[in-house]
């Protein structure tokens, strides 16, 4: 019953977002602000994670491919496909659920308990449109971009680690990268990026917007938002893989 009520309220929240903005320029400003917060604000952690994940992938793949019959270019192919198909979209989005998701939930939660949302309502502003829509739109604009950056940095990290550890030369790595490359994999990763970015932004927005109580409840809502987002990301990952691959 609680789950159904949550789903119903979540859908009503989404429906409530699509109202005519009071002033387009203010909404544009808010969208840009959220793009900076979500995109630029998460760039550092995305870069660090991507480089190291790529590096670890190269080393671990090389460790398992001991047969002299398997060409070294295979290492690059495996790293490329793993990073593009799974690590860049899924792992990065799980991290973003923690970074951006908890920020969205706590920001809206704080605005709710300190009556800032009520203040906006009293002014005649549709708070769902003004506060939630720009966050979801910004996430859907910036997170796929971050996923693309993560792909590039992950592969670069793998190349760097392979060279540094003397596993694979840059030339052979580059050759492996170009071999049997499927552009569809990038499309698939971007589809995942869009779906996950919607989850990362809308689920925490829901938990933050409807929080009741004080600081403790904001913390709880934030944690719950991250947990639910992560579970939904993994579930959506499975469904998308089953449907699109």
């Amino acid at each position: 019953m609680g789950l159904l009520s949550d789903i119903g309220r979540f859908l009503l929240m989404l429906k409530g977002m699509f109202k005519r903005p009071e002033k387009a320029s203010m909404y544009w400003k808010e969208l840009m602000h959220q793009c900076v917060e979500i995109g630029i604000g998460s760039l550092g952690i995305v870069a660090i994670i991507s480089v190291f994940i790529g590096a670890v992938s190269t080393i671990q793949t090389a460790y398992q491919l001991v047969s002299p019959l398997v060409p070294l270019t295979t290492i690059a192919q495996i790293v490329r496909d793993t990073v593009i198909l799974e690590f860049a979209p899924t792992l990065v989005c799980i991290v973003l659920a923690g970074v951006a998701g908890s920020r969205i939930a706590s920001e809206l939660g704080n605005m709710r308990v300190s009556e800032q949302i009520d203040a906006l309502e009293i002014m005649g502003i549709n708070t769902k449109t003004y506060l939630i829509l720009p966050k979801i739109a910004a996430a859907m604009l910036m997170i796929p971009l971050l996923v693309m950056i993560a792909m590039a940095l992950g592969i670069w990290g793998g190349r760097l680690a392979g060279t540094a550890a003397g596993i694979i030369s840059p030339n052979i790595f580059d050759k492996g990268l170009a071999a049997d490359f499927l552009p569809y994999n990038v499309f698939f990763a971007l589809v995942k990026g869009y779906v996950f970015s919607f989850i990362i932004s809308s689920v925490p927005a829901y938990y933050g917007y409807y929080v009741r109580g004080g600081a403790l409840e904001i913390g709880r809502a934030s944690t719950k938002a991250v947990v639910v987002s992560c579970v939904l990301i993994l579930f959506a990952d499975y469904i998308l893989s089953a449907l699109l691959l």
């Binding site: 002033k23 203010m26 704080n110 800032q116 009520d118 203040a119 309502e121 009293i122 002014m123 005649g124």
Partner: protein, 270 residues
């Protein structure tokens, strides 16, 4: 003018407001008083449309708020200013940006016009050199004054103040009360104040509605309070011996049996 007609509000099985009616006139401070949990805040939230009553009507200029279309409600809300108990200033914005926010959202004024208006209202609430400060850098009284400035920046017809003196020292409370009273008279605003503060009641209350356990127990002016025989009201307002003495003195003053010391002070002031 705001008319409250037979408002009833329940949360689950608990009746929080029961058949409350009132008439709030422009140019006067209309006070809702009562103990904690008596339904004051719920009544105010129903009046501004943050809560929907189960029964009854809230009429703005004779038109029922809850029968209005969404567009009409939005336009009424643009005429409402509200001062929240916790000020409800936007943490991430400076004082200037907080006050400018309604202007940015609802006017097409130039930046210089908006800034001029911001400075006007800041001056009106006796605040200087705070434009670039963030709410976290302000004292409680300053926050209330900034929130009041934001509430009146669009020249509202209706001003709602939810416990404007909570958490403030008596002197700052007086400043806030005076500001609310002056703004109400100056701009002929229909002001509704939700308060516990007995000083506010006696200084600013043009119309007073006393709520007890969700019901309207008493209504009248601050002068009526002095002569009221309502035991619940007297127990609430004149709870301490000091306040009982003050009431007796005020009664003597009002009936002319004792000179009004405050007025004499005014007269003898050089």
């Amino acid at each position: 003018m705001i008319e409250v007609k037979n408002i009833q509000k329940k949360f689950g099985d608990k009746v929080v407001i029961e058949n409350v009616s009132a008439m709030m006139k422009p140019g006067q401070c209309n006070l809702i008083i009562g103990a904690s949990g008596s339904g004051k805040t719920v009544l105010m939230k129903c009046m501004v449309g943050l809560l929907t009553p189960d029964q009854g009507e809230i009429c703005y200029q004779g038109e029922s708020y809850f029968s209005m279309s969404q567009e009409q409600r939005t336009s009424i809300r643009k005429e409402i200013g509200m001062l929240f108990q916790g000020s409800a200033l936007f943490d991430s914005l400076t004082v200037e940006q907080n006050i400018m926010f309604p202007l940015d959202m609802f006017t097409t004024d130039s930046d210089s016009q908006k800034l001029k208006r911001v400075n006007e209202v800041l001056e009106r609430v006796n605040l200087k050199d705070v434009n670039r400060k963030f709410p976290a850098e302000l004292s409680g009284g300053m926050k209330k004054r900034v929130a009041l400035a934001r509430a009146v920046v669009l020249n509202p017809k209706y001003l709602f103040c939810d416990e404007p003196n909570s958490g403030l020292d008596p002197q700052t409370s007086l400043v806030i009360d005076k500001l609310i009273k002056d703004l109400t008279v100056e701009f002929n605003i229909t002001t509704v104040v939700n308060t516990h503060d007995m000083n506010s009641v006696m200084e600013t209350g043009d119309y007073i509605l006393y709520m007890y356990q969700g019901k309207k127990e008493w209504e009248g002016t601050r002068k009526d309070i002095i002569f009221s025989k309502n035991q619940l009201l007297n127990d609430f307002i004149f709870a301490s011996e000091f306040l009982k003495d003050a009431k007796d003195m005020r009664m003597l003053e009002e009936t002319g049996k004792m000179p009004n010391v405050r007025n004499m002070d005014e007269l003898t002031r050089p």
